[in-house]
Amino acid sequence: MMKKFSLSFVFLGCFAVLLFGLQCTADAFSLDENDRYQLGGYIENFTGLRLSKHTYAGGESADVGDFAAFRTTLFLDFSAQISSNVKFKSIGRGYYDNPYSLNSNSDPQIKDTEHQWPGPHPLTMKQDFDLREYYLVISPGDFQFRIGRQQIVWGETDALRMADIINPLDLSWDWSFPTWEDIRIPLQMIDMVYNVPGSAHNLKFEAVWNPADFRPTQIAPYGAIWDPVGLPGFLVDMLKDQQQHDLPTRSLKNGAGGGRIKGQIGNWALSVFGYYARVQDYVLKLDVGPNTINPGLPMHFYWPHVLNVGATFNVESIALKTIFRGECAYTFDQPFTTSAANNFNFADPAAFDYDEKDTFAFMLGFDRNTWIRFLNDNKTFYISGQWFQKFVLGSDVSGKLRTGFGDDGDNRSQTIFSLLINTEYMDGQIKPEVLAVHSVTEECGFFDFHVAWEPTYTLRFTVGVRDIWGNNNLTGIWGPVKDNDMGYLKMRWSF
């Protein structure tokens, strides 16, 4: 009975989006006759069904066929061209996301639907509206300032992070799978860009300053679909309280900043960057000091500062008809939780501190449009591959630090490969895409295959399936959520 009701609910939701879309196809909103003020956006329903069973640390389970997502999103994008040199932009996003109440009574409910954790002002899991971005763009001469809450994206890597480190991620509602624009947490920042006029090398200088808006990576609470912690609910509550307590305040001393120089030498587009900020993923150490909220669980969380420096390149090989791109990053003093602290080994002095090691990471990738005529005679296949490699430097690492790398999560290197292939059929109305990512060192990864049908430019239906795998130790990026295989349907009407 419950299931029937749920399906009816989904059907009605989808029907509403469809109806809205068909009624309003090809309408957009320019608020004045000169397009100085524009409003655009979309309404989307994302419905996912579980394809694998998941047992939570507290013993509850979610079964195959249960809803894994039922999220309806309203996305509003407003632009105002105030003058030729001043523009205002704001993006708001509201959602209703509650697959849990649609499922049978046996599966777990989120214990705290009000808040993800951690975060200074986290969104609620069930429904919310967030003015995600609002910033002014002021352009005196060859300078450009973007001031306000915004996303700033650097680097050449897709689906993984190396130079794209300025904004933390919100992994609470769909892990790392949606467009990253949707899961980056915008921050209050000032972005200054100076393009050298008449530069033969397209020289550009950029400086970013985040005065005080520190936000860590956000993850889902216990019982949510994307709860990655793997601990019973009562323990999670204790950790969450402690973490909230330890979270750095939003003050000038917790600010961040950096710079980037971009240019072109011949066919090579190059950039170097440096960014100093607190890490977005916590480390912990055992601590029996007075500030421990739960005496039974004496620990503290930390988000220490790190300095990332790196470089990127991008070059086209005409002979191979391929774009090659790459980036590397050297991180000074990357903090790691010790294995002793992670295991609550009070007997080991190493448990009472975290360790810091330098790390080095690089990515090499290629993008190629390739004809595979027996599969598609009208459009090339876009094939994009990446090799992502990271090392924890220094001796005395393996087995002693929780790097998250390797089968046990304590190795000193990580190797990930990704492959993306897409094409278009029927005049771009049918768009299949496959993305596979595999982390060799943790034997975890995912495979996502979806087909989008766009009968008009404003209406899109996407059907997809996602398989996630990982080892029994739940290490790596996708290991903690390996039981979340999903079949999904998305419907979007944009305006």
């Binding site: 909103f29 320019s30 040199n85 467009t179 005409i318 005049d427 404003t458």
Partner: protein, 438 residues
């Protein structure tokens, strides 16, 4: 009374039949049913507006000598004056829709710019040369080969045709598929030429130009929302060894991506019929093709077109009821040096005075017409030759992509020419400010 009734009936039937069956009389351009500016989005592209320069008023109400095609004289009467592509479309209105050719007298551009082009042609005559790679050298301005003797000289005349130095060019894109389903995009297609400049300083060559840039194009999408803020900057180089460079700002990624243009016949995303080699009707690298001058042929072309872009919803031709003029065109046959190139030959029809291209028909490897680019031009008040509608048509898939300009979006200046753009205008950070990119 009864006789009177019969007489009235006969009169009415005669009147209807004479209107229905007879060709349109000379002197007028009779509207086609359904023709108009059928654009749906609620923005500044919704109404057609002339360019800032204004159009040449001679373009508006021209005296039609004769009309052919839908509801007019048989198209077979002018078969020899049309390329295979346009004749095929007009001959099959049930497939391709209503198209009519209204023949008028040709009018040459007025104003100082065309005069300067001719003066530059005379001034630099004999200086331009074509090297072993079929690339032009020592070109300054004007027509490089006013008396072309070969296909490659005709090709370079086309590439150094009479054109504005730069432009701000808002256009609507109308994509129509086999079922007559229509999709729309809007964008600004702004560009800058670095050589052969006649109006804006520096001229005739933009210096300094250390990277040997030939031209820079930007396509900034406005609608639909999924494409809004997508900005593509394409740089072409005065170097046979360099391919076009494409950098694209993608709002959903919040990042600039470098994309390859080396797959020259890969269609643009979103179902468009346009690919790299057919920009401007033909945009292949001259060093990679062989050119054979077939001679001259009198053709009906649109040089003095009706300025206002028109089209019929669910049909395939932009400018379906335009003014055509007889022009003794140069006809060039183009073959790729690549044996795997999917087109066996390309036939291009060029204006002998301005060297703009009217038609380019593309034939598949079996010699069957596969696609065509059909461009209609009109004149602005100061004599600029502007393509007011452009068609890229796929004959085998019954599919078309049409483009029509309008003076939309005053934020970027609106439709205008020779405004003094520089390469710095095309920096993506600048363009993100001009257009509503997030």
């Amino acid at each position: 009374m009864k006789k009177g009734f019969y007489a009235l009936m006969c009169l009415m039937i005669t009147a209807v039949l004479s209107f229905w069956g007879q060709p349109v009389r000379a002197g007028e351009r009779v509207p086609l049913p359904g023709v108009g500016w059928n654009y749906p989005y609620r923005d500044s592209y919704r109404t057609w507006k002339p360019p800032k320069e204004g159009y040449d008023e001679r373009m508006m109400n021209q005296d039609v000598i004769a009309s052919y095609g839908y509801g007019a004289k048989s198209v077979d009467e002018i078969k020899d004056l049309l390329p295979e592509s346009l004749y095929t479309m007009m001959k099959n209105p049930s497939v391709w829709g209503k198209i009519r050719v209204n023949v008028t007298e040709r009018k040459m551009p007025k104003g100082v710019l065309f005069k300067r082009y001719k003066e530059a042609t005379a001034k630099y005559r004999g200086q331009a040369k074509i090297d072993a790679k079929q690339w032009i050298r020592n070109y300054k301005a004007g027509c490089p080969f006013p008396d072309p003797k070969s296909g490659i000289e005709v090709e370079w005349n086309y590439r150094r045709r009479f054109k504005p130095d730069d432009r701000i060019f808002p256009v609507i894109t109308v994509i129509t598929n086999k079922r007559g389903q229509v999709r729309y995009q809007t964008s600004d297609g702004n560009l800058l030429f670095m050589t052969g400049r006649l109006a804006a300083d520096p001229k005739p060559t933009f210096l300094p130009n250390p990277n040997k840039i030939e031209r820079i194009d930007v396509y900034a999408n406005a609608h639909p929302y999924e494409l809004q803020g997508t900005i593509s900057v394409i740089t072409q180089f005065n170097d046979p060894g360099k391919t076009d460079e494409l950098w694209m700002y993608l709002p959903s990624m919040r990042r600039v991506r470098h994309l390859s243009t080396t797959q020259r016949i890969d269609k643009l995303p979103g179902g468009q019929d346009l690919f790299w080699d057919c920009f401007d009707t033909f945009n292949g690298n001259p060093s990679l093709f062989n050119f054979k001058l077939l001679g001259r042929k009198e053709m009906l072309v649109v040089m003095n077109g009706y300025p206002k872009g028109e089209f019929i919803l669910h049909e395939y031709m932009m400018g379906p009821n335009d003014y055509y003029q007889k022009v003794n065109c140069y006809v060039n046959e183009i073959h790729s040096k690549d044996p795997n190139y999917p087109f066996s030959k390309i036939i291009q029809y060029l204006d002998p005075d301005t060297w703009v291209s009217y038609y380019t028909d593309w034939y598949d490897r079996k010699g069957k017409l596969q696609r065509s680019s059909i461009f209609n031009y009109t004149l602005t008040k100061n004599g600029i030759v502007m393509a007011n509608v452009m068609n890229h048509i796929d004959f085998q898939r019954v599919h078309s992509t049409g483009y029509a300009y309008t003076n939309a979006r005053s934020g970027s200046g609106g439709n205008t020419y020779n405004v003094g753009l520089t390469p710095d205008y095309f920096i993506l950070d600048h363009l993100r400010k001009v257009y509503p990119a997030r």
